[in-house]
């Protein structure tokens, strides 16, 4: 089930990517509509992060191409924002939350201009949107995992793009942060933005996204959520492992167990 759209925000055409000659993505061909919340879903090692990195031009492509807003990335870089995995950086780095948020404005500054009052203002507004304004001057190692993730999001918001690509923004965050982030993503969609999110929790995927990309090295499906999150397609994506998975998630659904441990409020 691969549904293509006309006038896509993101088009991936016949994309193949490999690490050390071992293919990670094979012949992926998909389009993503405007103003959508898109979930990229698949088992571990399915190439979800690789797909995002390949779209952002961070990996060499073996074949195929990527177009954003109908153009190559270099022509529309300021309209595209990337949120890397939280573990990809050193959080002991000497920087405050505001410093990190301000990095989102660097792309618009060119080679020589330094961030000034206007960039500081934009960064502060971005921190407010994620509820982190009170922590602006806190050193980033003194933030909790969820707060660090919010700071990462604020950096992308400060960039004020039209398409956002987020790598596992819900990994290792508390439930309050997850709710706050998804609320924010919905607001962003209302203002016409498109958000692509790498996600691995099948249960919440149903509620969160209106467009789903099912990936397991090959593209299994790409289309509206109710047409893609079907038992048959999930079976195809997860292979044998799904039967167990779906039984567990059904159980969770019925008994209404919390899927994550909630963090006690910090004093």
């Amino acid at each position: 089930m691969i549904q293509h759209v006309t006038d896509p925000v993101l088009e991936v055409h016949d994309l193949t990517v490999s690490y050390q000659r071992k293919p990670v993505l094979w012949d992926v061909d998909l389009t993503v509509p405007k103003q959508a919340l898109v979930g990229v879903i698949g088992p571990n090692g399915a190439g979800k992060s690789t797909l995002i990195k390949a779209i952002m031009g961070l990996l060499p492509l073996n074949s195929g191409y990527v177009e954003l807003f109908g153009k190559p990335l270099d022509e529309v870089r300021e309209k595209v924002s990337y949120v890397p995995q939280r573990e990809s950086v050193d959080w002991d780095f000497p920087a405050s939350a505001l410093d990190v948020a301000m990095m989102g404005t660097y792309g618009s500054l060119g080679l020589f201009r330094r961030p000034g009052a206007k960039q500081r203002q934009l960064a502060m507004e971005a921190l407010e949107k994620v509820g982190m304004q009170d922590f602006a001057h806190r050193q980033i190692s003194q933030l909790s995992g969820g707060q660090q993730q919010r700071v990462f999001l604020s950096r992308a918001l400060a960039q004020d793009a039209d398409l956002y690509l987020m790598d596992e923004p819900f990994a290792g965050v508390d439930i309050a942060t997850e709710t706050a982030i998804i609320e924010l993503l919905r607001q962003m969609r209302e203002t016409g933005k498109t958000v692509v999110v790498v996600h691995h929790d099948l249960q919440s995927a149903q509620d969160y996204f209106d467009w789903i990309i099912l990936l397991n090295m090959r593209l299994v499906a790409s289309g509206p959520t109710d047409e893609t999150l079907t038992p048959a397609l999930l079976e195809k994506t997860y292979g044998g492992r799904l039967t167990e998975l779906s039984r567990v998630s059904e159980l969770l659904h019925k008994k209404n167990f919390p899927i994550r441990e909630t963090k006690p409020p910090r004093k």
Binding site: V89, D90, M103, R155
Partner: protein, 295 residues
């Protein structure tokens, strides 16, 4: 203070500022030992420059050294990225090999090369005032080394001042930097070029070991004192300057090596801060649990 002492301290301070500014970016990239690598890897460059030009003219030597310095960083990055060798192993294998090559060259051409590897490793900052730059008209401009290092410092201040945001972002989050169109490769090589330039300009007078000490010591100490990179740069430059002045007088008092004394002062600074730093020190870390228990 006599004039010689002034020149020696000034040279030490200029080298210290250059090294510690760059060192801040290096330790944040977990590449602190790159300074060590470059300062050793330049040896074959110096010997080859000497063998090809046949003179001990300082500019050809500097050029040979700088070329090898950049080649060294290129090899480190190549082994690390293309062959997936861990960064520290890649640094280690590259510079020991290049340094050994230099030693073999010196020993093979011993008769023709008036070079001494001890001089490369340890330098001699006390000789700085002996090499005076005198213009053709007879004007005494002071030691040549001071002018060379001073020039390098101006270049570095411009480099860091103009491109602070690029250096900051590519050190913190290379993937995001690349995503917004800031080339991580370009800024890596520009930074490594700056490290090469500084090392080459500095090691002739202060020696490779002191260059390494200044590149790692003051930034590591400053790292324990602040959570802000701009302050870290200022503090480490200050600590480096203090160490070179303190080291000079320590050496005078002990009648010992100036470079050695400066390194000792750097080590003492680090120990003091490690114990007493208000945020990261041993003492404050001990006391913190007690304080929060009261509050």
């Amino acid at each position: 203070m006599n004039l010689d002492a002034f020149w020696i301290i000034l040279t030490g301070a200029l080298v210290a500022i250059c090294c510690s500014l760059l060192g801040c970016f290096l330790i944040l990239r977990r590449m602190a030992m790159v300074g060590d690598a470059i300062s050793h890897a330049v040896l074959p460059g110096i010997v080859l420059a000497f063998l090809f030009s046949g003179s001990r003219e300082v500019w050809t030597m500097l050029l040979g050294a700088a070329l090898l310095g950049v080649a060294c960083t290129f090899l480190i990055e190549f082994f690390h990225k293309k062959a997936n060798v861990p960064a520290d192993a890649s640094i280690g294998v590259t510079f020991t090999w290049l340094f050994a090559l230099g030693i073999i060259l010196i020993s093979v051409y011993a008769g023709q090369v008036d070079l001494d590897q001890d001089c490369v490793l340890y330098g001699e900052i006390a000789y700085v005032p002996l090499d005076i730059w005198i213009t053709p008209s007879g004007l005494n401009l002071g030691p040549r080394t001071v002018w060379i290092i001073g020039g390098v410092l101006v270049v570095l201040l411009l480099f860091i001042g103009l491109f602070y945001k690029q250096l900051y972002l590519t050190s913190f989050d290379p993937a995001f930097a690349a995503a917004i169109g800031i080339s991580t490769t370009l800024w890596y090589y520009l930074l490594m070029g700056a490290v090469s330039l500084t090392t080459v300009a500095a090691f002739e007078s202060v020696g490779a070991i002191l260059v390494v000490a200044l590149m790692v010591g003051p930034p590591a100490t400053a790292y324990l004192l602040t959570d802000d990179l701009k302050k870290m740069l200022l503090i480490s430059a200050g600590l480096g300057t203090l160490a070179s002045a303190g080291g000079f007088y320590l050496a005078l008092w002990l009648n010992g090596s100036v470079a050695g004394a400066i390194s000792v002062v750097i080590g003492l600074q680090f120990l003091l801060v490690f114990v007493f730093s208000p945020s990261h020190g041993l003492v404050s870390r001990r006391r913190k649990p007690a304080l929060s228990a009261q509050g």
